[in-house]
Symmetry: C2
Subunit: 552 residues, 2 copies
């Protein structure tokens, strides 16, 4: 137990919801709301109709469904990734700026979990096993939402934490793989090749055994943040570090696994490794409906849950969404950690939400050494990510890698495509509809032509010294801002970088002299000086300076 240590950031999701409320970041809906047709369209509007700063988490406390059922449970949507502010709250930090450092620190200082007894585990308040499972509603007793009514094939658990152990090493993994509700005791699951859960499943399959697993729902938020991320450490240990206290685990009822004691719901069972079953389609993180294909089957052996549970749901698919926000911050933390060792001048990694926080990464470097931009791009291309990034762009750190306008400015003026762009194949195209038509064969969709899809790497850093950014000097812009505000009383300014000129390595003394003469109104003196600098117009043909005869 942790009673003598400083307490965790959040003991469970209920403590976290109270904090969200305190921060003014939770919207409670007491109106009767249909989980199949109304919950997700409502929350979706805030991603398609409000600015990020206006988005909050939602708690639906009065639920019904299309069958007219009522639920002794609530649904929490977008409570981790509605906005950067909400994400900061989930981490227990005050400011968005602390997120990246907090991720780095947690990866570098993991905290191992502790085990507690079932009596001390809220998730054991209700235990459902045996015939009660199928005779009752089983997994169908919970208000599982339909995320994209109109195209999704079923209700699905959208914020699942799958707990598995490596069949060979016993190392735990917690991964987020979406879950189709098929029967009271049967679920369909999609785990992509390259994901840790899939690796465990493949090992069990090779051993000729099913894979034991527990589907954990609504654990303390730190574990959810880890589960959607790629980590080289056990998610239990990093979640403890993020939560600033060891995660409390408890034995599952019907399988040999330790699960979070403070989760709201745990669904235990086994993955079949001998057969697959039809699954989907559902929306995918790129914003398109995915494939209808054979995927894994999970057979339920027990359910335990807190009374009146809170069922957490991620709102995902069409970016920007909650899921793209979670992946963005999580992958940025992971990638920064991975690249920092290789690139001494790395400043920042930004993963673009609009591309599903998976396809496009922009990397800021400060005065990179020759070759460093390419070393960094190659390391990022090789980073553990499912699938690998499609677009990787290196920029100088005067570019704001999170601002597409700023990145596009770099692409326009710091790139010569024939030198600064490289394309390479060998990329997995799972869930990428540009890989192959959706009704093509499984292998064509996931690895076309036997050669795979491709990545494009772009070095958009300056390859040499540039002349300055052409804006008025900082002091004159500050002076003008005073006139703007104090004398003219014009609309409030929100300065956007760059808002003044700055040097980029090339600024000869005689340019500086002319610039000063212009400020002083003495530019005719510059004109006089230039009159002595003449050449024949053949210069335009061959670039050779030939002094004109004297009378010119």
């Amino acid at each position: 137990m942790t009673s003598t240590e400083p307490g965790p950031v959040y003991r469970d999701i209920r403590e976290y919801l109270a904090e969200l409320d305190r921060r003014g970041l939770l919207r409670r809906v007491t109106r009767e709301t249909n989980k199949d047709t109304e919950v997700m369209p409502l929350v979706r509007w805030q991603f398609r109709g409000l600015d990020a700063a206006q988005r909050v988490g939602w708690l639906f406390e009065n639920l019904t469904d299309s069958r007219g059922r009522r639920f002794d449970a609530s649904v929490a949507v977008a409570i981790l990734g509605a906005s950067p502010q909400v994400y900061a709250a989930a981490m227990g930090v005050d400011a968005v700026e602390e997120i990246a450092a907090n991720w780095l620190h947690a990866q570098q200082h993991p905290i191992a979990p502790v085990t507690v007894t079932a009596a001390a585990a809220p998730v054991k308040e209700n235990i459902i096993t045996g015939s009660e499972l199928v005779d009752g509603e089983g997994v169908d007793r919970f208000p599982v939402t339909v995320t994209n009514p109109g195209s999704d094939a079923s209700a699905y658990f959208s914020a699942p934490i799958w707990i598995t152990k490596d069949p060979e090493t016993g190392v735990y993994n917690a991964g987020t793989y979406r879950v189709m509700v098929k029967a009271p005791d049967r679920l369909g699951v999609l785990m992509l090749s390259g994901q840790d859960g899939r690796a465990h499943w493949e090992k069990a399959r090779a051993l000729g055994r099913p894979l034991e697993a527990v589907l954990v729902l609504s654990p303390p938020p730190a574990l959810s943040l880890c589960s959607v991320n790629k980590l080289d450490l056990s998610e239990y240990d990093v979640a403890g570090a993020l939560n600033r206290a060891p995660l409390e685990l408890v034995d599952a009822e019907s399988v040999d696994l330790l699960i979070p004691a403070a989760a709201e719901i745990a669904i235990e069972g086994r993955f079949r490794t001998d057969i697959l079953e039809m699954e989907g389609p559902f929306g995918e993180y790129g914003g398109y409906v995915g494939a209808h294909d054979y995927q894994m089957v999970f057979e339920v052996s027990a359910i335990t849950h807190r009374s009146s549970p809170v069922l957490q749901a991620f709102i995902s698919e069409m970016p920007p969404s909650e899921s793209s926000m979670l992946r963005k911050f999580g992958f940025e933390g992971f990638l920064t950690n991975e690249l920092a060792a290789k690139s001494p001048n790395l400043r920042k990694v930004s993963i673009l939400q609009i591309a599903g926080s998976a396809q496009v990464a922009v990397i800021e470097l400060h005065n990179p050494a020759p070759g460093e931009a390419w070393n960094t791009l190659r390391a990022a291309a090789a980073a553990r990510n499912v699938p690998a990034f499609k677009w990787l762009v290196a920029v100088d750190d005067d570019i704001d890698s999170n601002d597409l306008d700023s990145v596009m400015w770099a692409l326009a003026w710091r790139v010569q495509p024939h030198k600064d762009v490289q394309i390479q194949r060998g990329r997995n195209t799972d869930l990428d509809p540009s890989g192959a038509p959706v009704d093509a064969s499984f292998s064509a969709r996931t690895y076309p032509d036997g050669l795979g899809g491709s990545q494009i790497l772009i070095d958009a850093t300056r390859n040499w010294a540039y002349p300055p950014v052409s804006l008025p000097s900082k002091d004159l812009m500050e002076h003008a801002k005073q006139i703007w505000e104090d004398e003219l009383h014009l609309p409030t300014l929100t300065p956007r970088a760059p808002w003044h000129g700055y040097e980029l390595g090339y600024w000869p003394e005689r340019w500086a002299r002319a610039a000063q003469q212009a400020i002083d109104g003495q530019y005719l003196d510059t004109g006089k000086e230039y009159e002595t600098l003449r050449t024949l117009s053949s210069y335009f043909d061959d670039g050779i300076v030939r002094e004109p005869a004297k009378e010119d």
Copy 2:
């Protein structure tokens, strides 16, 4: 004369300023303001600190300079391109949506100019010639602004209209080429290779003659809109069409050219074609300070001007700026006209301001035929533009080509780089600092390696039918919007496309059936159906369906 015809949209710039005032789009500054150090920093703030919708045109009515002079003249800045609304006002249309159609119509229905007598020409109110030119202040009498004090080498005329005639054909051109103030009777001018004015100069040079020209300032706005654009017709004729009345021209005093009678200022003279002179550096449209190099010399022979003239200035360089707005709308009109004949399914062309409205174009196509996207990209790559576009992207018309987020979504999920990207050399790199270091030779900077810089063409259209965009169906989103507004009274929504799911060609009947069952809450029926669709797990290895034995 045009007295029996419907009048022009704007007879002169003064009528236009009155209309801007009426629309609430003009800010008059009566405070004493220094043209060298204060005017441009003030206007610059609105481009680096206000949203586009808040930006307006400015009129400085009380000017001084760093030498302490005062001016019987005012300076108008950003009066054509402060915002899309201001641009619409300059065209004399009410809505931004009318701009593209108005450009197309004007190019297709040009109106030839008429000539008037000097007595009817306001630009002849004051005539300065001979010794008065040099003994007085010459061109230095006008309040020529310093655009980027701190890096610009001199004051320069930033909104110049250069009138020249083709020495062989006599066809007129009006082009915008920036003008360094060097002496009362001497100016420096940069005309890039590929520009019409440069072609006239090269022809005069080949004939061993100087090139006569008139620098026209503050003409009726229609001519300025044409002058910054690329047109295949005489700017005089298209300006007449935009102004809905023939442009009125008058003979120049000292050269054989017809110039706009209602301009505020005309500076007449000859370009030397035998010699070049040092010029610059000034900020360029990419946002960087350009080169210090040998450029053309213009020798002044006469000045005519209205009393108390309005000197127009463009605020340019670091995009977005007035110049990038002018180029954007102008080039879009030109390119749409040029591509429409070649691409039957062309819907829209968007030129991105942040790239200086020169380097990046995005082309929307509606269900393009096989090959049409590449035909269109090739035609755009070959379009008359100085220099050619660096990034050319074709997208489907469900993408908003003006919205970088939307374009990035297409680049992420509708592109396989090895198939959909082509890079080609042979691009002029004038003013592009990525072409070569700024102190490299003239030829290295303008056409490196003897092979030139490069363009990158990207087909980001779907290459085959895609499954639908994964968002809730339109009716459920509309229903949720009603709940949002009428029952929950939540913050006002600004819907951003896409805000509901839509089909993209692939939507089989059995997917639609499952989706309907999910809406109806009958997804366990789908689960039952899928239980009959199983395969051995070897499917993950080879994609071959092998039905399991019955007991599975």
